[in-house]
């Protein structure tokens, strides 16, 4: 059988892929996809724990997080779009007015 640890390893790998992408990529849309990966890794964790401990709470949590991830993507895309309208690209390395 596939055990709980398989799911946990899977989610840890997905989380790390998201984090790696976040640190290496520059394009706004790709960063959003990486953030989505990290959130979804946490959702896998929640659902796996919920299924293996026969407790429904984790799945309820997962439903809320799915809705929340959509809202987060909406806000993020709106910000990217506003930047795109002014600058015609969303390469984030180019945006650096604020510095110490």
């Amino acid at each position: 059988m596939i055990g709980l640890e398989h799911y946990l390893i899977l989610s840890a790998i997905i989380f790390s892929i998201g984090l790696y992408g976040l640190m290496t990529l520059n394009n706004g849309i790709r960063l959003m996809m990486c953030i989505e990966l990290m959130l979804n890794a946490a959702i896998i964790n929640l659902v796996a724990f919920s299924a293996y401990s026969h407790d429904i709470t984790g799945q309820v949590f997962a439903l809320f997080v799915i809705a929340l991830a959509a809202a987060e993507a909406a806000i993020g895309l709106a910000i990217m779009l506003a930047i795109y309208r002014i600058r015609d690209d969303i390469e984030l390395n180019e945006i650096n007015i604020l510095r110490w």
Binding site: L46, F61, I75, I79
Partner: protein
Amino acid sequence: MEDILLLAPEIILAVTALVVLVAGLYLKTEHKVALGFISVAGIIMAIALTMSIMLAKTSASMFYDTMVIDPLSQVFKLVFLSVALLVSIASVKYVSEDRNTEEFFALLLLAIIGMMVVSSSNDLITLFLGFELAGLATYALVGFEKKNIKVLEASMKYFIIGAVSSAFLLFGMSYVYGMTGTTNIPGIAANAHLLVDNPIGIVAIVMLIAGFGYKMSLVPFHMWAPDTYQGAPSVISALLAGASKKMGFIAAFKVIIVALIALNAEWQTIFAVLAVITMTLGNVVALSQDSVKRMLAYSSVAQAGYISMAFVVLTPTALAGGILYILSHAFMKAGAFIAVAIVGFMILVGNKDARDTDHIDNFRGLSKRMPITAFALMVFLLALAGIPATAGFVSKFVLFSSTIEAGLVWLAVIAILNSAISLFYYARVIKYMYFMPTEGGRITEPAPYAIAMILALVAVLVIGIWPEPFIYWASEAANVLLI
């Protein structure tokens, strides 16, 4: 039905937000000033209700034990609501002549509802939802001037780092849920021994601290704070520093102190290190800033370091000191940012295309041009430095003396040295305002800004001169944390 009545402040705010949002669609731009008054009225009603619940000393848990009402939650709700009141009064001027006024006030109210949900939450699900509701609303608020690339950059940095840290937070929460089998905070506390000496427990603690630390702007996670506070509209910086940051603290109090007290050996060490580097780096970097908003942002980072000493000391007095510090910092910082907003307004009146309105050169001779603002800003800065007869002194005194009582003299010494450093950069602004010549005549502050600033000034002085009731409520709140 009792349950619903205890949540009346939140419900009033939610209804106000929806009414403002839809009413704004049907109003002409010149009539949209009314929306600001509606929001202020809603917030004042919510404050009155929250106070009446607090003074009745109600304690209740509701919605299947996912929300609680206790002194802790009410004190924090009042902090958030007061900051919201200051910000929304000041914003009546800031967003006048803007055609998106309704979005501004609706988002502001939703952000406050999110923070109030966090302070009432007794379950990881409600806590995370409130945390994100406040986060999402403030991401949009920071980017409110959507034609200004500086504002958008601030908003984007805030959004990306915020979204990542909420992913960290959720991942940590999922481990806590998996190991203890519940999301209820007292339930986690009862089962938390399962996490002790468990590698997953350490991973969860680190991820939770990373997630909360970003909202609190503790040092390794503070990178967004200076950029966002500087780039955002000043009234929104007041909201972020005054309220949003405090939400990070109440969430961390609930999850780390209440739920995971069994792991305190691990997280007390982490917080000791974080507190020391946060206050030192914040103060040292603030010394070399020419932008006043950026200086205030770094000072805000440093203050987060002082407040997180409460996690290290962990005695009832220290926690009361931390909560008192949170209360007074909310007024000092919100007031200071509103004063900076007034200076920005003054500069823009003189020159419509002026950039970097928060540069320290713009503060030259402010005492001649705007005596009220200059005096208020001086009081806020002295309070931030911890000069007696202000709120900053009282809260620093309670917090530092409890640290010495607990035997952590080294920590108190570092904190006091840091306060001394901070006096340099606050005094520099005061020197510019009072001892530098200027040209340009006297300018009257717009009424909404002036009212908000004077309310904050009164609060700072009242807490400084008559601190007993505030200390009483802070210790009532702290008692909830250490059962």
